[in-house]
Symmetry: C2
Subunit: 463 residues, 2 copies
């Protein structure tokens, strides 16, 4: 039923904000396979991870029994700076589409990082500080994650080195400057501050760098510096856990107004925002309490769920991380350079991968021109200029609403609007100029990627 008494934006009060994250693993009958240490080919122990990650993050990473994990007061205080985020009823979009569907979106872009990334940056910086560390390191490509972590490091009083892919640092000087303004040290990668960087520089003197190289540098710096750890922005279970504040807030707001979603849609890169959005709803689904359709949308040019292999693979192209059992295109897979819409990660969160494997999640792809068409339509009627990544979810929400118009179904749709596109205007320019082309990897392209999946003991039966 069309319920027009619902406000355009629902903000929870600060008292209503969630006091715990939702650990969906506790409800999964099939837990995902353990991370594997590539050297031993055995499940990772805490000790394998301790030199790289903060202790509390490792605990959370390996916790698959506690359904609710308390958000410490120190993080909840920081969350109040930029949360609650609004749950928006897309009245203007509904009117434009003339659909019987009700469309809601949870908007995570109203903070300086411009995205949901700050939810996990806040938590990880807090735990680093609590552990008594002095500094943290990370890598960043486009810069959203680097900005989020710089904000969190400034708030908690930690030093931060951000290894920024050199070509990004040069092409996005403004992003770089935001990070610097928050007091972090931006090091264009490859750099001469690490062995990994020096090696690459010696081999390829003029290189613009890569995310893989930046990760290697950040990890090396963390492990070789006293009182320092490395921090990652997606894929891992504890990152997804922190992002469940998105789903928790959405669910509290919807419950408050008696709204029950039929479909929940999110864009899928590493999977942490989608996982965070759906987690509490999925928890109920796994107990048979709802029958929600969960849809992950990935770019046609980087289709890890829809065309990937379910295998053990490295989480990074530099092969420095433990191996995770996940849907992957191969850690060496690179989407076509003409792909502008973000979400270029080769793998997928092990939690999302397992839920997809078990049939709880549907995955679809969207081509980039259709994604930007949806983005521009959305910007004009709802006012928010969306990030290209988020616009994959917009595309699917619009398609669902248009389908409802044909069938007359009055579905309630919730999608995650993860961020704003203010720093993605060169991609928009391509679209506005009519110069955007769609790219779908051929079987040969895919095979090249699959060839980079490690051929090792744990993958013996798969490859």
């Amino acid at each position: 039923m069309k319920n027009n008494s619902i406000p355009y934006k629902i903000y929870l009060t600060e008292d209503e904000m969630p006091k715990s994250w939702y650990n969906v693993k506790a409800r999964m009958k099939n837990k995902h396979a353990p991370f594997v240490n590539p050297k031993t080919q055995k499940p990772c122990t805490k000790d394998d991870l301790k030199s790289v990650f903060c202790d509390e993050c490792i605990e959370q990473e390996l916790n698959d029994t506690d359904e609710f994990i308390e958000i410490p007061q120190g993080i909840r205080d920081f969350y109040k700076m930029f949360r609650p985020s609004p749950l928006v009823r897309a009245y203007f979009l509904e009117r434009l589409l003339d659909t019987p569907a009700q469309i809601y979106y949870k908007f995570e872009g109203n903070n300086t990082s411009g995205s949901h990334k700050l939810n996990s940056a806040a938590a990880q910086a807090y735990y680093a500080k609590k552990q008594g560390l002095k500094s943290i390191t990370t890598e960043t490509g486009a810069g959203q994650w680097g900005t989020a972590l710089a904000m969190a490091a400034a708030f908690y009083g930690l030093n931060l080195d951000v290894y920024m892919v050199k070509v990004s640092a040069e092409q996005k000087p403004h992003r770089r400057e935001v990070i610097r303004t928050y007091g972090a040290n931006v090091i264009p990668s490859p750099s001469d501050t690490t062995n990994a960087g020096r090696k690459i520089l010696a081999e390829f003197p003029g290189t613009g760098g890569s995310l893989g190289c930046a990760i290697s540098e950040a990890v090396e710096k963390a492990t070789k510096t006293e009182s320092c750890r490395y921090v990652l922005g997606s894929v891992l279970d504890h990152v997804l856990l922190h992002q469940t504040v998105i789903g928790q807030e959405s669910k509290i707001a919807m419950d408050k107004y008696g709204i029950t979603p039929d479909v929940i849609i999110g864009c899928c890169g590493g999977g942490s925002n989608f996982g965070g959005l759906i987690a509490p709803f999925m928890g109920e689904r796994l107990c048979g309490k709802n029958n929600i359709e969960f849809i992950g949308v990935e770019p046609a040019s980087c289709p890890s769920l829809t065309k990937g292999k379910f295998a053990y693979d490295y989480c990074d192209s530099a092969r420095t991380t433990p191996m995770a059992k996940m849907y992957t295109l191969g850690c060496g897979f690179m989407p076509s350079p003409s792909h502008a819409g973000g979400l270029r990660y080769h793998g997928m969160s092990p939690i999302i991968s397992q839920l997809y494997r078990d049939g709880y999640i549907k995955a679809i792809t969207a081509e980039q021109s259709a994604v930007f068409e949806a983005a521009v339509m959305f910007a004009k009627c709802e006012g928010i200029l969306p990030a290209p990544e988020s616009s994959h979810a917009i595309r699917a929400a619009i398609d669902t609403a248009v389908e409802c118009k044909k069938t007359g179904e009055k579905k309630t749709v919730l999608f995650g609007l993860t961020g704003t596109g203010y720093f993605d205007m060169s991609a928009y320019k391509k679209y506005n100029d009519g110069a955007m082309s769609d790219v779908i990897p051929t079987d040969a392209d895919l095979q090249k990627g699959f060839d980079t999946i490690p051929k090792c003991k744990v993958n013996e039966d798969i490859l």
Copy 2:
């Protein structure tokens, strides 16, 4: 008294949002002097303005009797897209400063234009549509106003030509692209689409343009195109009126929580945001119902209130507009090119000018390195990266709070945080690099500006 039960952010419900703008002129015993037609040297008639501005905006411009002017439902619907804006208690900043003062700010930057400009863009586009017009024109320098108007034009279905200062269009391609994404036509100025533009191009073939030239082009285009009008983003009374939604919301939120401000601070460029913030509080002040200190902060490099003349002057450097009685540095005054902090307007809203003349407003200046120091401090503790313009108000709020620490006074401070600085990172870079210098115009610089104030009949007694 320190009241810690107040939430970090106060959002009004949609029902609580103001249904009228506040016309402070109705309460002013001394109305400001009328606009004067430079040709006749007589007060402007409605007919003088009709070919340039929308009818309803002219009515509002000349209305100094109705204290409340209803916000039409069609505008209130659009306001719901990006309003209410939050009234934020600056707990983190208070803690950092260790001050007994309570600091609040009204944050207007949570929309794609990144500023308060959208409040008036929405209203002016609505009235243009209601009048049956097909298109509107404007000029833009940095691009915030152009973006806001593009959003409003897209929402109401109007064509929009934005004359963007050529050098800005080239230096800020991303801003330009946001405007294009909203469907507006961006024309780098000077252009060959107007007589004014062609004349300048012929005289100065390689010129990067100026705001004055862009205004001339936009006005010419509007007056020579059927069913088209020109739209302005600051200075005029009706623009200030639309911005009173800021003050109205602030007052409703403060009244709801029993908060009574002792000091209200805003940055001053053209004066519309400051005027909009203070209007309803000033209305009470003018009836003797409060004793609030109102402080306007302007850059030391463009000190129109603190060092200007109270005289009739053109509202634009191209001398195309009517003349207004206001504090002015002369329509030919240009702040030093090393001034990075915005607020480079030569004059001041006639309403603000009159209130200042009558002693209801205090004006102070801030130097740009002190402004950026405050901006970075604020960004780190409150999370929001502020626009350089807004940071003038932050500077004064911090100084007031620090003074309270010395005196022990428990003042309640409200300031306007008009926007975000995402597109101002080159100015931040200058500050981060330690390359920012302060500039104060010398008496000779000021005199050069004063020499450009029109020597005409209405100014005879002044100059």
